[in-house]
């Protein structure tokens, strides 16, 4: 067993995996890494299961000291990571020797970095997952949903005798990509006014600072729903709901399980992975896509993790 001791942390530094499944009918949220793609690549670099528990570091403010020699991997945002002051770029595995300090300072590109360890970081399984959901007091290092805190230590049990790897440049997710976010059209799409449908897909949306792991609000032209009030129903990951003020909210991993606002549809997993890396104030566009096409794209993307 190898250990890292946490020297600094924030409430936005959380142990995550792919999420908690099979219990949503009990009102338990999905949770899990907000950028599943970066988490998967970080794990892939170490030969882990793609959903092995990782540390999700949002915006920085996290540092650890190695109590033993370790091999770790980093995916996702460039949060100005440094090993004893020396810059460490993401998308690679690296050695951290006993006594060395790994530090995440500030967002240089993207918002969320994923730190992986051989076999995944140790944590108790709670309702089938290690994902930390603070609101529900589930998961995380102590199983009680608490964020990572200074003074605690992180351990992992996998073997770290392996070659270092780097994700080939052509495989690295482009966190700067300006392409619109794909949205699978949902059933209420026809209940929005014609003007609103035009606006939804032809205007620029600004990410509000009111954003957390439950959802991100998009600011722009108010959208008008003309249908009947809805009865609460299940809401999927990435749902773009439109409350009465007309400002859409993209629902993320820690969303409530059911809700009653009309929806334009839901972002695709790849669009969500990109959105999770956008800082407040970023501009995004939405693009409609049909379910079958989005499904094919996702299946093709998932093959990349198997091919190499």
């Amino acid at each position: 067993m190898s250990r890292l001791s946490i020297e600094t942390s924030t409430p936005l530094c959380l142990l995550q995996d792919a999420g908690r499944f099979g219990v949503r009918h009990l009102g338990v949220t999905q949770g899990g890494a907000a950028d599943w793609r970066s988490m998967s690549w970080a794990n892939w670099l170490l030969g882990n299961a793609l959903d092995a528990p990782v540390i999700e570091i949002t915006l920085g403010g996290f540092s650890v000291l190695a109590e033993e020699d370790c091999v770790l991997a980093l995916g996702g945002a460039d949060l100005g990571a440094k090993i004893d002051g020396e810059a460490l770029a993401p998308w690679r595995s690296f050695r951290l020797h006993k006594g060395q300090r790994l530090q995440f300072t500030q967002p240089l590109l993207g918002a969320r970095a994923y730190l992986a360890a051989p076999g995944g970081f140790d944590a108790p399984q709670v309702l089938g997952s290690r994902a930390t959901v603070v609101r529900e007091e589930l998961g995380g290092q102590d199983g009680m949903g608490r964020p990572l805190t200074q003074g605690r230590s992180l351990s992992y049990s996998g073997s770290s005798l392996m070659l270092l790897r780097e994700l080939p440049a052509d495989q690295r997710p482009d966190l700067n990509l300006a392409a619109p976010l794909d949205l699978v059209l949902g059933a209420q799409i026809g209940e929005f006014s014609g003007q609103s449908l035009f606006d939804a897909f032809n205007s620029v949306w600004t990410l509000d600072s009111r954003a957390d792991r439950m959802g991100i609000r998009l600011l722009g032209t108010a959208l008008e729903y003309q249908g009947k009030p809805m009865i609460s129903e299940g809401i999927p990951l990435g749902a773009v709901q439109v409350p009465p003020d007309g400002q859409p909210i993209v629902l993320l991993n820690d969303r409530q399980t059911i809700g009653g606002y009309p929806r334009l549809g839901a972002l695709t997993p790849l669009a969500l992975a990109r959105l999770a890396q956008c800082l407040p104030g970023s501009k995004v566009r939405l693009k409609p896509v049909v379910q079958e096409v989005a499904h094919r794209e996702q299946v093709e993307y998932l093959r990349r993790f198997l091919d190499r």
């Binding site: 499944f21 099979g22 219990v23 949503r24 009918h25 009990l26 009102g27 338990v28 999905q30 709670v126 309702l127 609101r135 529900e136 007091e137 589930l138 699978v184 059209l185 949902g186 059933a187 799409i189 026809g190 014609g194 449908l197 035009f198 897909f201 009865i231 609460s232 129903e233 299940g234 809401i235 999927p236 990951l237 990435g238 749902a239 409530q256 399980t257 059911i258 809700g259 929806r263 549809g265 839901a266 695709t268 997993p269 409609p288 049909v290 379910q291 079958e292 989005a294 499904h295 996702q298 299946v299 998932l302």
Partner: protein, 259 residues
């Protein structure tokens, strides 16, 4: 902008799937909600009579999707099916739904459990008792009697783990949510919103009209099934004295003191 192109799939958003069950024809609609989620819409209104159908449909969908099911999220009138996109295409998922729901029968399943939830109805833990009394023109004791007289259906779980939406509360006791939700509602708090009633499993923000508190543990990760209540169960509230409430492990800290 038009609705999604669904011509290649067996039935569409607007073309209902008909299922003949016990001599009654139900209109089911299957709607796209996300890349790997479909919504099965069975009803347009909340009604206690929906429950046997929703439960039968849930059971049938679970069996049909088996290992390819990631989550099933039933609610008042719908069931959201989240399936494994690496195993099924949207068209295959729709076929499974159609197969699962043909000849659906609401009688095929065993009824849900009946729970009795002890409640200490008191103004210190249920400050809206007086508001509900004023609105209805009933005495506080009569509000309590009427709330605890009815056997409620659990329609859906959501909002928080183990939070069960139950109904229907009689019209006289119905009241809209508070204009400003409380930042902190104590665990076990029993409340009313419109014609629904519920108990908060853990401390959380909330806008329901609070009328009392139950000592029952509503969500327990050590319990088989985790949640005390499941959709389709029935619940009766039983008024208990302060002494009984404390004996059962209740926390009588007044709401204000916790805020």
């Amino acid at each position: 902008m038009s609705a999604p192109d669904t011509t290649a799939i067996p039935f569409t958003v607007n073309r209902p799937l008909l299922t003949r069950s016990a001599g009654r024809i139900m209109k089911l609609r299957v709607e796209v909600v996300a890349l790997d989620c479909l919504m099965v819409r069975l009803f347009d209104e909340i009604a206690e009579a929906n429950m046997p159908w929703l439960l039968a449909a849930s059971e049938s969908l679970r069996a049909a999707f088996a290992g390819h099911l990631i989550d099933l999220v039933p609610s008042y009138t719908t069931i959201m099916v989240h399936y494994d996109l690496t195993a099924l295409s949207p068209a295959q998922a729709r076929e499974l739904i159609a197969e699962a729901l043909i000849d659906l029968s609401p009688n095929a399943r065993t009824p849900g459990k009946c729970h009795v939830l002890p409640v200490w109805y008191d103004l210190s833990v249920g400050p809206e008792l007086s508001l509900l009394a004023r609105r209805s023109g009933l005495a506080v004791d009569e509000v309590i009697r009427r709330h605890s007289e009815h056997e409620y259906q659990v329609f859906a779980l959501g909002f928080a783990p183990g939070f069960a939406f139950m109904g229907l509360v009689e019209e006289a006791l119905a009241a809209p949510r508070l204009g400003t939700p409380r930042k902190k509602v104590a665990a076990g708090s029993v409340g009313i919103a419109e014609r629904q009633t519920a108990a908060y499993p853990v401390v959380s923000p909330g806008g329901w009209n609070l009328i009392g508190r139950t000592p029952a543990k509503l969500f327990d990760r050590e319990r088989d099934g985790y949640s005390l209540m499941q959709p389709g169960d029935t619940v009766r509230y039983e008024a208990v004295s302060h002494a009984e409430f404390i004996n059962l492990g209740g926390d009588d800290t007044p709401l204000e003191a916790q805020a």
